[in-house]
């Protein structure tokens, strides 16, 4: 062994929260994002808004999949919980939109606990199937209940007002989603480098070792699961307000897959990678418009190729 050799080595690297190679392009991207609607038409803005929606959803799922290492195939369910909670409360009970957000967050927490608490002890592939089943259950419930508007969904969801200004146009929602995306990124970054964030990494790398140093595995996973759920539910609220009409079709297994694809594509567990992945997922239908029925195949091949040849994603984690 080479204890001495290592001891004489210079200390490599300082703690870097963000590296300049990330910060500079990040700032450029942010500046671009802020001015985008000023020179882009409604179509581009709409696509960009969708991209921002996926950024929020992918960042949320990244907490579950990337940080805590739990494969969730029913993430759209929490998106649905948020959208329906907000939609029902505004359309049926006349709630102010902003008041529905905390209610939706609470609802997502409850749903997260109901499904997470008993199942997070399971091995990861079982968990994947349970979440898939849960996603389907939520969709079927939304489809079959009267309060959710049944299969054709809810219509006439009020558009939110802020300081007397009503969010109406694509641009307004673009900025609303941009704020939400930045807020989510900020939240993720804060949590990632906090005690709980580290606990998720510990559990993901080695559950037993994590337990051996005093981390409650199930609680840690549950917290990740719930935090992911809450983020999806907030995205759902804003989505409902933007669409004004929601139906179970927006919360299918395919939706969950797309969000997962975004997380995996860019690089699990890392915010810039996930943001990149999310944007790619949102652009995919636009870019592949000509591909027609080949589109799902192209998407699938991309996913498989990433896993086989770049398992850490397009923009992988080079931390430490």
């Amino acid at each position: 062994m080479m204890i001495d050799e290592v001891r004489t080595m210079p200390a490599a690297g300082q703690p870097q929260l963000m590296r300049w190679s990330v910060v500079l392009p990040g700032l450029a991207a942010l500046a671009l994002a802020l001015v985008l609607p000023q020179f882009a038409n409604a179509y581009v803005t709409e696509v960009a808004t969708t991209a921002l929606l996926y950024v929020v959803l992918c960042l949320g799922l990244n907490i579950v999949v990337g940080y805590a290492g739990l494969l969730d195939l029913g993430y759209a369910a929490f998106f649905a919980v948020g959208a329906y909670t907000s939609g029902i409360l505004t359309a049926e009970f006349g709630f102010n939109f902003w008041l529905t957000i905390p209610v939706a967050m609470a609802a997502a927490c409850v749903a997260g606990i109901i499904i997470g608490a008993p199942t997070l002890r399971l091995r990861s592939d079982y968990l994947a199937i349970v979440t898939l089943g849960f996603g389907e259950i939520v969709r079927i419930i939304a489809r079959n209940l009267d309060i959710t508007g049944g299969a054709s969904g809810l219509i006439g969801i009020e558009r939110p007002e802020i300081f007397g200004f009503r969010l109406m146009q694509v641009q307004h929602f673009y900025y609303a989603f941009l704020v939400l995306a930045l807020l989510t990124a900020f939240v993720c970054l804060s949590v990632e480098r906090s005690r709980m964030g580290r606990a998720w990494f510990y559990v993901r790398y080695d559950e037993d070792a994590a337990a051996g140093i005093g981390i409650n595995r199930v609680t840690a996973k549950l917290q990740a699961y719930m935090m992911g759920a809450v983020i999806a539910s907030v995205a759902g609220c804003l989505y409902a307000a933007k669409m004004t009409a929601i139906s179970p079709e927006s919360f299918t297994f395919n939706q969950s897959l797309l969000i997962l694809l975004g997380v995996v594509l860019g690089g699990m567990g890392r915010i810039p990678g996930v943001v990149l992945g999310a944007i790619l997922v949102a652009l995919l239908p636009e870019v592949l418009r000509g591909a027609g029925t080949y589109r799902p195949l192209v998407t699938a091949v991309a996913l498989l190729a990433i896993m086989l040849f770049r398992p850490n994603g397009l923009w992988p984690d080079k931390r430490v």
Partner: protein, 254 residues
Amino acid sequence: MALLEVRDLRLSFGGLKVLHDISFSVEKGAINSLIGPNGAGKTSLFNCLTGFYKPKGGSISLSGRPITGLPPHRITALGLARTFQNIRLFKEMSVLENAMSGQHCRSRHGIVSAILHLPAQRREEEAIRAIGMRWLGFVGIEQHAHRRAGGLSYGDQRRLELARALASAPELILLDEPAAGLNEREKLDLIHLIRRIRDETGVTVLLIEHDMGLVMQVSEKIVVFDYGQKIADGAPEAVRADPRVIEAYLGTED
């Protein structure tokens, strides 16, 4: 009162008895060892003590508090830390982050305060970091704090595992074959380190080790296992001379 009290501990896997009515104790401030041939049940005992296995019967208490059957994270929180036989570091994380992990059960801030960047949370983070650095310094690898843990030399990985366990502020630390894979030089360093743990921090040490040289040098008391039973218990010299121990190790001719 002894720090660790094990009474009539029994464990079995699907009908196969692994531990038979084990009883022993570890005094506060001691360095004790557990030895025995392969398959004697030493690691199984460790796993019972740390909550990874649920014993079939008997009791374990730490500082008088019963810990039998508690989940691992609760036991760690009550002051019992461990290392693993085949080093189990979080290899993709930094050395410092590994050391900081030990503080998890001694800190309390959660997601909400992290998002809000509360001053108290920041102070706690700073404290966790400082404690992590302190233990890295204690085991002598603070200069590697920001390297990837998996990139450390084997000997340093062993040290890091010790630092991580110590960072959880334990009363008792269980070391599972800490000398495995170390060379003679590193073993000497390890002996020195184990003594420092007890002398400088007051943490009681219980280790499983195959390297008898090391065991004989550091232990004040040795518990010997064979076939899941305790066959001897005493000071190194006495144990070394015990015919039952020699028999367990070298076998009998008939």
